[in-house]
Amino acid sequence: MVGSEVILLDFWPSMFGMRVRIALAEKGIEYDYKEQDLPDKSTLLLEMNPVHKKIPVLIHKGKPINESCIIVQYIDETWKDKSPLMPSDPYTRAQARFWADYVDKKVYDALTKSGTLKGEEQEKAKKEFIEILKVLEGQIGEKPYFMGESFGYADIALVTFYCWFYTFETLGNYSIEKECPKLIAWAKRCMQRESVSKTLPDSKKIYEFFMEMRSKLGL
C-alpha cells in the first residue's frame, strides 16, 4: 500500500502537526495521513503515544516518534538525500535548536492568551506576545530565514503559528503585522514555499474552527 511505511497521526488545525507535514513535504515523502478525532482518541494514538496521548505521532515502519520538533529532526536525519532542514555546522545547529525550543516554550501560551483573556489581563498578554515576536524578529534580522539563506528547522517551528494569527488578532483586536512587520514579511516569504503554502490551512478556516470549538465548550 502506498505510503503505509510512513503514517502520520494528526489533527488538521494543529500547528504542531503542521510542522511535521511541512518537513515531510520538503523531503517529498509519501505518507498515510490519519486524521484523529480529538477528544475521542483512537486506540492507535493511545498505543503510540502512551506518555502524552497527543498528536502528532509519526509511525515509521511500525515504530512511533512523538513531539513535533523531535519528529522533524528524525525526518531530517532519516531522509538525508534531499532538502536538509538543519544547518551543516554544529554551532548553527545548536542555535536552530535553541530558537525552536524558544518557540516551543513561549509562543503557544502567549498567542492564545492574547486572544482569550479579557480586559487588563488581555492587554498585558498582548504586550507579552508582541515582545516575544520582537525577540524572534530580532533573531531573523536582515536574513531571509532564521539561520541564514536556507529555510529550515527553526522556520518550521514558528511558521505554522502564522495561520493562527488571524484568529487571535480578531479576538484580541490587534494587528501583528502593524507591530512586527518584518516577522510577517518573513512568514510570507516562507509561504512562497509550496511545502508551507500547501500545508497551512486558510486563516479564516482556522478561525471558524476555533470559534465553533469554543461555542461547543460553552465559552
Partner: protein
C-alpha cells in the same frame, strides 16, 4: 587556534552539573566561571540575553544556552564517548525521554517540594516519576542509555542527586525506594559514574541550599 571552553554557572545547579558531566565524558578542559545569580555578570547577560540564566557554554567566544541544547552540541563537537545514540530512531527516543524528564518530571518534583509535600502535588510527582520507573523496567538496563549513560541519564541528574537532598532538607518523602526500586538503583549507579561524581557539589551544600530555598521558617 586553541580550543577555548568556558562554562558559566553555579555549583548547585543540576542543569550546570549536567553540562559538566557531558564535558567530563568527553575529557574537555574548560574554565568554570562562577556566577552570582543575585548579581549577574555583564558576560552572562551578553551571552544569554534571552533567558539570562545558567548554564551557558562559550566555545571559542560563541555562546550556547539551554542545557539539553548544550549537551547535544558537546556531543557533536567532541568525539569519544557518545552521549546520544547514532541511530535516528534511538536518537529520537533519547530526545523524547530527555524532554519528558525536563518538561514533565522536573516541574512536578519541584512543585512537590515547594508546596511543602501537599498531597496532590506529591501524587503528580509520583505519576511523572512512574514514567521513568517504567522505562527503566522496560529497558532492563543499568542506565537509560543502556550500559553507559546518555542524554536521558544526564537530564535526570536531579532525580539521582537532588531529590534525596531535598527530602533530607525538608523532611518530605517524594521518591521512596519501595515505590521506585528501579529509579533508586539507577540513582546509585548514576552518581557513582566518574564523569558524574566529578560534576556534583558536596551533598551538604545542596541540603543547605534547599533548607534555605524551600524550608519552613
Amino acid at each position: 587556534m586553541a580550543n577555548e571552553v568556558k562554562l558559566y554557572g553555579i555549583d548547585e545547579s543540576l542543569f550546570v552539573c549536567g553540562v559538566k558531566t557531558a564535558l567530563n565524558l568527553k575529557n574537555v578542559k574548560y574554565e568554570f566561571v562562577v556566577e552570582d545569580l543575585s548579581n549577574k555578570s555583564a558576560d552572562l547577560l551578553k551571552y544569554n540575553p534571552v533567558y539570562k540564566k545558567v548554564p551557558v557554554l562559550v566555545h571559542n567566544g560563541n555562546p550556547i544556552s539551554e542545557s539539553l541544547v548544550i549537551v547535544e552540541y558537546i556531543d557533536e563537537v567532541w568525539k569519544g564517548v557518545p552521549i546520544l545514540p547514532q541511530d535516528a530512531y534511538e536518537k529520537a527516543q533519547a530526545r523524547f525521554w530527555a524532554k519528558v524528564v525536563n518538561d514533565k518530571c522536573f516541574p512536578a518534583v519541584v512543585n512537590a517540594f515547594s508546596s511543602n509535600g501537599e498531597e496532590q502535588a506529591v501524587a503528580e510527582a509520583h505519576e511523572a516519576l512512574q514514567f521513568l520507573e517504567n522505562e527503566l523496567k522496560v529497558k532492563g538496563s543499568k542506565f537509560f542509555g543502556g550500559d553507559n549513560i546518555n542524554l536521558v541519564d544526564i537530564a535526570a541528574t536531579f532525580v539521582a542527586f537532588w531529590i534525596g537532598a531535598a527530602e533530607e532538607a525538608l523532611g518530605i518523602e517524594v521518591m521512596s525506594k519501595h515505590k521506585f526500586p528501579k529509579l533508586t538503583e539507577w540513582s546509585d549507579n548514576y552518581i557513582n559514574c566518574q564523569a558524574v561524581k566529578d560534576s556534583l557539589p558536596p551533598r551538604e551544600n545542596v541540603v543547605a541550599y534547599f533548607k534555605k530555598r524551600f524550608g519552613k521558617a
